[in-house]
């Protein structure tokens, strides 16, 4: 059974800090790893990572995948209160399009 584990479960930092969120996975026939941000409503897509060692960036957010050590990190620099959310990591395997999610990291940014 595919397994995705996120850490920490919860994180509280001050505005302006940099945070690193972790996601490890055990997936048969691994294809991709995805990051989503969930505020009160729909999870919104952030990144899809398929190749090892290639950083993806979007503004203050960046992410990278290590397929040898089976993990990914999501970095957020110069955090803002609007970054407060649950960050979800999910794996995708070849041959089936369903996502397997971790439990998420709840990030709280204090002004």
């Amino acid at each position: 059974e595919d397994k995705v584990v996120q850490s920490p479960l919860s994180l509280v930092v001050h505005e302006g800090d940099t945070v690193t969120l972790n996601c490890s996975y055990e997936v048969t026939n691994f294809r991709s790893l995805l990051w989503y941000k969930q505020e009160k409503k729909a999870p919104t897509f952030l990144f899809m990572l398929t190749s090892s060692g290639i950083e993806k960036k979007s503004g203050r957010l960046s992410s990278i995948l290590d397929k040898k050590e089976l993990f990914s990190i999501l970095n957020i620099t110069a955090t803002q209160t609007g970054d407060s959310a649950i960050y979800l990591c999910a794996s995708l395997r070849w041959g089936n399009e369903k996502l397997t999610f971790g439990t998420g990291t709840r990030l709280t940014i204090i002004p």
Binding site: R31, L34, E97
Partner: protein, 114 residues
């Protein structure tokens, strides 16, 4: 439409009642997924369609859960004889076929069983 649309946003039902949850995917998206999200947990896969074909229903927790997508567009998730443990947020997602594009989620239906 611009995004995945789900209705109703909230549903309260008494134990034993049947409920139906609707999902309208992004136009042109072939794949449609249903997930169940319990409080404090990540979404868990229920079932998946490619066009009107239900390709995987391995996540449906019991035979009380049934999903359909008869014309390959709108989908309905039906839960019969609801139980308290069915209380959760039900998320629908859609994507272009093949898994090379990300899934985009709707706002979900929050189901409460009294």
């Amino acid at each position: 439409g611009a995004g995945v649309s789900q209705s109703p946003r909230y549903k309260v039902a008494k134990r034993g009642q049947d409920v139906a949850l609707r999902c309208d995917p992004i136009s042109g998206h072939v794949s449609l997924f249903w997930y169940q999200q319990a409080l404090g947990q990540g979404p868990e896969f229920l079932t998946y369609f490619q066009n009107e074909a239900q390709l995987d229903k391995s996540g449906l927790p019991s035979d009380r859960f049934f999903a359909e997508r008869p014309e390959g567009s709108v989908s309905t998730l039906k839960i019969q004889r609801t139980q308290q443990e069915d209380s959760a947020v039900y998320l629908c997602a859609s994507s272009r076929a093949g898994g090379s594009q990300p899934q985009h989620f709707g706002d979900g239906t929050r189901l409460s069983i009294l």
